[in-house]
């Protein structure tokens, strides 16, 4: 983490003294499982994300990535440690953050368009305006003609994209994205990645991005952090991505530096995944 603090920001350049957008300090998260000892999902670990920084989290399945995001969102109260948002300790929900959940989280009783529009309406936007902006966003995620569908009438990837539009339309200062492009094909993934990067470049959001696609993580991020296999998962690697901005998410994969980074991170990650399986590995 210290590394990250010392490096100048990759995008814009906020004052060195400015508090980080997200600061997780020594947070530990446990789950109570009735009739069993407490399950310590995340051991005390720390992660800071500066304003305007794009940080990806990778790690073996079930290590605690979603849990970390939930803690940042204020949906889970950590058993220990502190969560601070722009320097202020987090109490209750994180109002600055937009969160794209790993699971389906659309309201099944609203159409795609309404699902996006409601995100604006609750902030006080007039309905007509909200609908117009929502339609705009649906177009951006390639669903212009699906606005009047209910979630159950959409494919998995379509639902995810509606969710993406729902989060982005509000323009939150902190973005928490849990495998946002998981159910998308490679090509759509790149289009969405570019969309996200453009948006991020515009107003220096802080992004915490969970993905299983290491290439994607490198292509998009300023830093890639690796979590160890759970239980008691910790952040065990923190790789600054010193590739030039702005990036073309497709072309950048041809850069030799990209491949070097990939190999470095992959080696550490691979070792970690194997641990999950231990002798279980087939």
């Amino acid at each position: 983490m210290q590394t990250a603090m010392l490096r100048p920001p990759a995008g814009g350049a906020p004052g060195v003294g400015a508090p980080p957008a997200v600061a997780l300090d020594d947070i530990a998260i446990s789950f109570a499982i009735p009739g069993r000892p407490l399950f310590k999902a995340v051991a005390p670990t720390s992660l800071h994300v500066r304003e305007g920084e794009f940080v990806s989290i990778v790690g073996p399945t079930g290590c605690g990535k979603s849990t970390l995001l939930n803690a940042t969102a204020g949906l889970l109260r950590p058993a220990g440690g502190r969560v601070s948002i722009f320097g202020a300790p987090l109490a209750g929900l994180n109002a600055q953050a937009g969160y794209l959940f790993q699971q389906d989280a659309l309201m099944p009783w609203k159409t795609a368009l309404d699902n996006v529009a409601i995100a604006l309406e609750i902030g006080g936007t007039r309905r007509a305006d909200a609908l117009a902006q929502a339609q705009d966003w649906l177009k951006k995620v390639g669903l212009a003609r699906f606005g009047d569908r209910y979630p159950h009438q959409l494919s998995g990837g379509q639902r995810k994209r509606v969710g993406l539009a729902q989060v982005l339309v509000r323009g939150p200062k902190i973005l928490l994205m849990d495998e946002p492009f998981g159910p998308l094909d490679a090509q759509t993934r790149q289009i969405m990645g570019t969309l996200l990067l453009n948006l991020w470049a515009q107003d220096r959001k802080a992004v915490l991005f969970v993905t299983h696609d290491l290439e994607e993580a490198i292509a998009l991020s300023d830093r890639v952090v690796i979590m160890s296999a759970g239980p008691e998962a910790r952040i065990i690697g923190d790789f600054p991505i010193d590739l030039a901005r702005p990036r073309d998410t497709a072309d950048i994969r041809l850069d030799p530096r990209f491949h070097e980074l990939y190999r470095q991170i992959w080696n550490q990650l691979k070792a970690e995944v194997v641990k999950t399986y231990g002798e279980d590995a087939p």
Partner: protein, 264 residues
């Protein structure tokens, strides 16, 4: 698995015909020396039909019907509204709910028939004491279902809505309410009937008009035909109200997938 509406109606009529046939048979043909459905207790379908027609033709029924309708609708609307409101409120205030939980259950268990004098004392003999009786039945059915319905809201959808920054009021409108709707409608189908039962029992216990009064009067002079005619009108009545509820339900629940298992 879909069935043509015409065929459905045919089958429904068939059921009615069989039931009425059985009734007529039981009331008029002795089996082993006794009647299955002695006329003294069951009248006969023909007589009941004649009486129903006569009640409508002579026009005496309208006044009673109107009063009972008013009471039923009021009991239904007030009871459901209160059930929904308090159900939501309790669901959102777990401590409040925990504190009042035993009392709600106690009150639910009090026999309404016994409470009738108190309702009359407070509300007089007019329609309001009957409405109160109906409300006291409807309320609990709706209340428990709404309460449960709110607690069954999908945690992910709720978390998402809260992350969007919805206020309690907005959560209610956009999440709790739509999510609890199917629970609510399930309870409304039961409570339509109970609203009517409440009104009729209220009239039965003390009134000067209404279907319950008619039935009670018929009972007092052992006019079973009158009793059954009254009940028949009652039942026809509730179907109409329920039809209204179902229409609203279908409009409000357009968003749901076809009922499971319908497709294959």
């Amino acid at each position: 698995m879909k069935i043509h509406p015409g065929r459905l109606l045919l089958l429904q009529i068939l059921v009615a015909v069989v039931a009425i046939g059985f009734w007529q048979f039981g009331a008029t043909v002795p089996v082993g020396g006794t009647y299955l459905l002695p006329e003294f207790f069951f009248s006969t379908p023909l007589d009941v039909m004649k009486r129903v027609v006569q009640l409508f033709v002579s026009g005496t029924i309208w006044k009673h019907l109107w009063i009972t309708l008013t009471e039923t609708v009021l009991a239904f609307v007030i009871g459901s509204a209160a059930g929904v409101a308090i159900g939501f409120w309790f669901a959102r205030k777990p401590i409040l709910a925990a504190v009042f939980d035993p009392y709600v259950k106690m009150v639910n268990a009090l026999p309404r028939v016994v409470l009738a004098p108190i309702f009359m004392l407070w509300l007089g003999l007019g329609i309001w004491s009957k409405v109160a009786l109906g409300v006291s039945l409807v309320f609990f059915i709706v209340f428990f279902n709404v309460y449960q319905g709110v607690k069954e809201v999908s945690p992910v959808v709720l978390a998402n809505a809260r992350m969007m920054g919805m206020s309690e009021h907005q959560l209610f409108r956009n999440v709790y309410w739509p999510s609890a709707l199917s629970w609510m409608f399930s309870s409304l189908h039961t409570s339509v009937g109970f609203a009517l039962v409440g009104a009729v029992v209220g009239e039965y216990l003390g009134a000067s008009a209404g279907l319950g009064y008619l039935i009670h009067q018929a009972e007092g002079v052992f006019d079973v035909t009158g009793v059954f005619a009254g009940m028949f009108i009652l039942a026809a009545f509730v179907l109409i109200i329920d039809w209204g509820v179902t229409r609203i339900e279908n409009r409000l629940l357009v968003w749901r997938p076809q009922p499971a298992g319908e497709q294959a």
